[in-house]
């Protein structure tokens, strides 16, 4: 049914359609609206049976989810930013033990400096946690990917993170098609766990594993992720057959077929990029966009095929590895191993900075001239950075960095609160 909904509400309705039996909630912006809406549906009785548990931290949110999943319940939670890091130990544990929990990450920057706005530094920090990670480019995709995620998680017995940009998607009101319950029920069968704590058949879970078997257990986790490279497209095809939308492939191409320059991105910026590409195409430039939906497992072969004819690749990243550079770009480089085409990293939209069409357009013109540095920070105020460095050169006690930058800019911190 077509509805005009806030992204969070749409995701909550999609999650409810998947009939989670245990939902753990702890507030953190910008994820909070999702669990609030799920909680309301549990209260109203529209989502039943479901245990909605208000926990005292994200660490407990995922730990409760681990317990519930170990007892065979379909389990969901949502988090963001600091919350994802606070539960980090449990994040690795859930995947290590193979519990098919589905978790929304409403992408938000990691502090310090504390920042509630969007970037993807949080989920990127957990990219090697053993969870499958899929990134939604729109609210419709976010809705669809959650439904696919439960099926994927349970078939492969690994947890799945559905990543959606905080505020940009979670707080945006858009038209979305919310599927019918009967259709979702037909797509997503009841959870049949591979492992369960049951007095009728006692098992031990979470034993200590030493050097004699640790490599094998880890390797199996890798194999399972590799299996997802085939399973996810299969589930996406089934989804498309039933719901009429392609929402779950590993990658999504937009005007890439004859493109000399291809921009790679994850998440909501793909929509902005598509518009920029349309403009550039009208000007006669052969450009396209490749959206990466599955970042874990990383679809090396598909990315290679999509990019192999490009003369250059520009990777727009909403996060970066401090001291190293692009995170996504590294994987792209791996996919294009042996090809001489330049790969540019463009770090954009950190901590909620808007990624404008004008900036992308100017950047892509530079790229098409191969005049772009290998790592670029979009709209970086270099004068501000220079003055901060100068303060450090000239004063031993130069003070806290973030506050110095704000003072320099004349920004009253309160105006954002």
């Amino acid at each position: 049914m077509l509805k005009q909904l806030e992204g969070s509400r749409a995701v909550a309705e999609a999650v409810a359609l998947c009939r989670p039996e245990v939902v753990c909630a702890y507030p953190i912006t910008p994820q909070t609206h999702i669990v609030e809406a799920v909680g309301e549906m549990v209260r109203e009785g529209t989502l039943s049976p479901c245990e909605f548990i208000n926990v005292e931290s994200e660490f407990s949110a995922l730990s409760v989810a681990i317990g519930a999943s170990a007892a065979g319940a379909r389990t969901y939670t949502a988090t963001a930013s600091q919350g994802l890091l606070f539960m980090a130990e449990a994040v690795f544990n859930a995947s290590g033990m193979g519990f098919p929990i589905v978790m929304t990450v409403a992408n938000r920057a990691i502090g310090a400096p504390i920042n509630i706005w969007n970037d993807q530094g949080d989920s990127m920090a957990m990219r090697d946690s053993g969870w499958l990670q899929i990134y939604a480019t729109s609210n419709q995709e976010a809705v669809d990917l959650h439904i696919i995620a439960f099926r994927l998680a349970e078939e492969i017995s690994l947890p799945v993170m559905v990543c959606m940009d905080g505020f940009v998607l979670t707080h945006a009101y858009e038209r979305v098609d919310i599927p019918e319950q009967a259709e979702v029920d037909a797509y997503l069968p009841p959870f049949e766990p591979r492992q369960i704590l049951d007095p009728a058949e006692p098992v031990t879970m979470g034993a200590m594993v030493g050097p004699e078997a640790f490599t094998e257990v880890r390797y199996l986790a890798h194999i399972k992720q590799m299996q997802a490279l085939e399973l996810l497209p299969k589930l996406a095809r089934e989804f498309e057959a039933r719901f009429g939308r392609d929402s779950g492939c590993l990658i999504q191409r937009y005007r890439t077929e004859d493109a000399k320059t291809i921009v790679v991105a994850l998440g909501s910026v793909v929509g902005t990029l598509q518009e920029v590409i349309d403009t550039l195409r009208n000007e006669g430039h052969a450009v396209g966009v490749l959206a990466i939906r599955a970042f874990r497992p990383f679809p090396l072969a598909e990315v290679h095929d999509a990019l192999m004819h490009a003369e250059r690749v520009v990777v727009v990243e909403r996060a970066f590895a401090i001291g190293q550079g692009g995170i996504v770009a590294d994987s792209i480089r791996k996919a294009l191993q042996g090809r001489p085409a330049p790969i540019y990293t463009v770090v954009a939209g950190l901590g909620g900075r808007p990624i404008t069409q004008a900036s992308l357009n100017a950047m892509l013109h530079q790229a098409m001239d191969d005049a772009l540095p290998s790592v670029t920070f979009l709209d970086l105020q270099t004068d501000v950075v220079e003055r901060a460095l100068e303060r450090e050169r000239s004063h031993r006690r130069s003070g806290p960095v973030a506050e110095g930058v704000l003072k320099d800019l004349g920004v009253k911190a309160m105006q954002y609160v």
């Binding site: 931290s57 730990s63 317990g67 031990t204």
Partner: protein, 330 residues
């Protein structure tokens, strides 16, 4: 006189004379139906108080629930010695997730049982004092506060024994550990530090809080049985001497637990909804020295110069417990 009334030389302690009791009064552990929930063959040290306590507690829980329990276990000695892959000593459904989250995992298990209509399956979460009083304290308080249907059992050996005897917030003042060396101006653990989790549990006004020691195994059984007859968040804190960490003889585990109780240093009591309802009385009061002296972790108190301040501090604590929990009254 045609017959003599049977007399137990430790009346009320249930520690001996089991075979003289009627079958229905016998301990769970002495019955043929005992489940050996924590089975033999595990790798605990000789004289391990935790293995003893866990065995009695789990078998009692099994008996009280007709075998319908699942366990969430924190990282620690109990986890490590019972489940070195590919072995397991557990004959019950058992999950270990992390050091600090056993209470939360237990809450998740309970939620799943409820939603699946399997409320007859009861949940126990357990761990040592490190996971209870320190790293898992937040999730434990959360589980209490929500009144989740979980029995949490803390096996308190007063330190991080699995990692090599470091100080926890349950370590006794003056005790030597790897991180509170018995050297310097104030040897051993500082006086005046630490916490007693049972009292904090009571502050949550949960249905049931109890303490016990491995000196009184029937008492452990009785308290676990009581706990399993109730719903909601329940907490049992069992003192389990650790020969390795305490520097005591393996054969002294039960004796030391008894001295802890008989000195008043470890009060054994029950509380309902935040109020103390009963306490196990001291039968033969001993000074705390009797408890301290056999342990190498307190050896520095009894050197050439006795550390009267530290001994006095612990004696004062015992006396405070005696007053507070009415340990000497009939």
């Amino acid at each position: 006189m045609s017959h003599q009334e049977v007399k137990f030389y430790q009346t009320g302690t249930f520690t001996v004379g089991n075979r003289l009791l009627d079958p229905e009064q016998r301990s769970v552990q002495s019955t043929e139906e005992r489940t050996n929930a924590l089975n033999s063959g595990h790798r605990a040290c000789q004289g391990c108080g935790e293995a003893l306590g866990a065995r009695y507690a789990m078998d009692a829980a099994m008996a009280a629930t007709n075998g319908q329990i699942v366990i969430a276990n924190a990282t620690g000695c109990l986890e490590v010695f019972s489940t070195p892959y590919p072995e397991t000593a557990w004959q019950v459904p058992w999950v270990h997730s992390l050091f600090g989250n056993a209470a939360a995992v237990g809450a998740g298990l309970a939620a799943a049982m409820r939603v699946k209509g399997k409320s007859d399956v009861r949940v126990i979460a357990q761990g040592g004092d490190g996971s209870t009083a320190d790293i898992g304290f937040g999730p434990l308080s959360g589980m209490f506060e929500r009144n989740d249907d979980v029995l949490f059992i803390c096996y308190d050996n007063q330190g991080y024994m699995n990692t090599g005897v470091q100080r926890s917030s349950a370590t006794l003042p003056a005790a030597r550990t790897s991180t509170t060396a018995a050297v310097g101006k104030r040897p051993g653990h500082q006086l005046g530090m630490g916490k007693f989790v049972p009292e904090i549990a009571m502050a949550h006004h949960i249905p049931y809080v109890a303490t016990a020691t491995v000196a009184d195994l029937r008492d452990i059984e009785a308290k676990v049985t009581t706990a399993m007859s109730l719903r909601g968040a329940r907490y049992i804190h069992i003192l389990v001497p650790c020969p390795l960490g305490w520097g005591s003889a393996s054969h002294d585990t039960v004796r030391l637990a008894r001295m802890a109780k008989e000195s008043g240093l470890f009060p054994v009591f029950e509380a309902r909804d935040g109020e103390v309802t009963d306490s196990l009385k001291i039968r033969h009061q001993v000074p705390v020295e009797e408890f301290l002296k056999p342990q190498k972790r307190f050896a520095h108190l009894f050197g050439k110069q006795r550390d009267e301040e530290a001994i006095g501090f612990l004696q004062a604590r015992a006396e405070r417990n005696i007053r507070k929990y009415h340990l000497l009254e009939a």
